[in-house]
Symmetry: C2
Subunit: 392 residues, 2 copies
């Protein structure tokens, strides 16, 4: 099936994917008098007296802005805000379908950090949460940080944390199945953009020895001696790649490219590009390696090849293979939980709670079943419930 | 009925009035693959190649932002963006109900002109049109002007032009019924904010002699000799209030308060405050005067009093009296028309076309029937059709 052509047809037949409808009737004079003037002055005055009542009388508390500047849309790159619209609308309908959350696409006509931050701050009164989407690294880190500091509603960059949560969920079950412990596992991460950085940080918080993580970008492994690193990579160069006794005889931190650093690794996590990993690279890993090849739409290595080369567990981002690591397992439940609980900051504790809820949703993990199906509507509620319990 | 209390109940039972839903199914893997990844890359690439295709593949073309800074909400004044939310949501559902247009409330956390303009410019890619709402005068004039200059989508300040269009519509039928001509009619306008200024300008464009219009704010009539006028009023002081032969013996322009200038007038248009007009002021007008007392929720004079004092035709903003001058007769059809026709600027020709379409929607005007019912869903389509014909 030609997904692209079919999708173009679907989008043009419907002129987009979202609509804004009324939750109340407007058929009679009375309807009009209550939903609009003069009655509407009632809730307005209540909110003016007590601003928190905006959560009681308006849609704000269930409304999330899906904000992009179009700088890193899917694997398509910097295609700009207008061309990013179909993705943002898609995200919005997933919010509704899986989390019961109203979401609205905000595609920004600027890619300047200051302007993005100011604009989102200015439109924030309409929203109960901000989901940043497809904003390129390292700009996304600063934008997210500044918005979290200045807004009193949750701000979440899904490409970072949503991915990190679902990867952690999959890894919890994969490590269990291959009898490994987070404290000792050796991990190679290919791709040091928004997703790679967030996965690294969450894994460290969860108990992975940071020295046991090797990060690889297009120029090779990140290490203390590399020059011209951006500040995020520079920070990571000091805590990753320091425990260099992977049985390969390297005296100090590792150098070289992906092929070199995969030798002896227990886990490969790919958030990079199609086809970067070969069968022989898989064979060079530790016994029964775990391979999360999540480049979209073409993974770093196809599952059949990875398995042939000895991978014990393989996951991808695709719906046509088992173990689909898909953010839809995370963001709807995370936002449902924090919106319902009135949580203002989505911290590591919430992310880990979400990951554990996704992992334990699978009653009996198996090599082809480490995460739930992306279409399973029960996952979001399980995640939301776990988060709401944190508040109690 | 206590509208305020009932409205508070309605708003809290529904937690607001709008929701964002999907126009396409997302039940199966195939649905997900077409509405989201990988298929969605198809329409993204098309739009990237040809940005105008955003109107073909996304909701932009039918989506209007209802933008406020909360500085002049209903008659409540500067209650801020959050307290203004219920009004903006109300406006959004009217857009949908009467115009089939998706609309979304954007309540801004700033009241600075520059910041408002920049913010709206930055979020514009998501929208097919901008409806400015409840922004105080004279700030609203500059904001609207700058946005019209910088955006390639229609920008419309409804408190100005929506009101002006519906007032003109009502006046067309009222003048016909009382055998008057626009060229000669003498008009007093009480209230020189967003609505008063726009009504004045549109009436002049339609053919009223500007010298025959007397504008009155809280300090009295506007005339060339008054000091400390803002720039908008200053401009109007030079073109209104110059034809001073209303039979009252004033040698030059008129001075004084509302009671003085209403003497001899054919038409009173109130967009000001409750109770400003007395029966004796109505009696001082020309024979069979026309009285549009549109202050909300309490008019400048109640219809029964105005009639008792001799008014031939009375209109208000209220749904519980005949002749409700309600913006809902204007904006849904105006936006429906310009969105469908791809019109980028809502100029005077479009406003006049809309007003004439509303007026002629009444086949047989009568003193108690100069405009259609606010609930009549046929009006918007009649307005839209008239506007679309302009394009041909």
């Amino acid at each position: 099936m030609d997904y692209y052509r079919e999708s173009i047809k679907l989008h043009s037949a419907n002129r987009g994917k979202i609509e804004v409808i009324s939750k109340v009737p407007i058929k009679t004079k009375k309807d009009l008098s209550l939903a609009y003037t003069p009655g509407v002055a009632g809730p307005c005055r209540e909110i003016h007296k007590n601003p928190e009542d905006v959560y009681k009388y308006t849609s704000k508390g269930n409304m999330v802005a899906v904000v992009t500047d179009g700088s890193a849309v899917l694997g398509l790159g910097n295609i700009g805000p207008v061309a990013g619209m179909p993705v943002m609308e898609g995200k919005c309908i997933l919010f509704k379908e899986f989390g019961g959350i109203d979401a609205f696409p905000i595609c920004l006509a600027t890619q300047k950090i200051d302007e993005i931050v100011e604009t989102v701050k200015h439109i924030a009164p309409s929203f109960g949460g901000i989901n940043l989407e497809d904003i390129s690294a390292p700009r996304c880190f600063e934008i997210e940080k500044r918005l979290i500091q200045s807004l009193d509603i949750p701000v979440f960059h899904d490409d970072q944390h949503g991915t990190a949560v679902v990867v952690l969920a999959g890894l919890i079950n994969a490590l269990k199945l291959t009898h490994r412990k987070f404290e000792k596992v050796k991990i190679v991460i290919s791709g040091v953009g928004a997703a790679g950085v967030a996965v690294t940080k969450l894994l460290i918080t969860y108990g992975v020895n940071s020295g046991n993580i090797l990060l690889c970008d297009s120029k090779g492994v990140i290490h203390k001696g590399r020059e011209n690193l951006n500040s995020v990579k520079e920070d990571l160069a000091h805590i990753t790649n320091t425990a260099c006794h992977w049985g390969t005889g390297y005296p100090n931190c590792r150098t070289g490219g992906l092929a070199e650093i995969m030798k002896g690794a227990d886990v490969f996590i790919g958030v990079s590009k199609a086809g970067l990993v070969t069968e022989s690279m898989i064979r060079s890993m530790a016994r029964n390696p775990i391979v999360f090849a999540m480049a979209n739409p073409e993974p770093e290595i196809m599952p059949d090849k990875a398995k042939k080369a000895g991978a014990a567990i393989v996951a991808t981002g695709r719906s046509d293979f088992p173990n689909q690591i898909n953010n839809v397992l995370g963001f709807p439940g995370i936002f449902r939980g924090v919106l319902d609980a009135g949580i203002k900051i989505i911290d590591d504790k919430i992310k880990i709670t979400a990951a554990e809820a996704i992992a334990s949703y699978i009653k009996k993990p198996a090599p082809e079943k480490i995460v739930p199906s992306a279409l399973d509507k029960g996952v979001a509620m399980a995640v939301a419930d776990a988060i709401k319990k944190l508040k109690n």
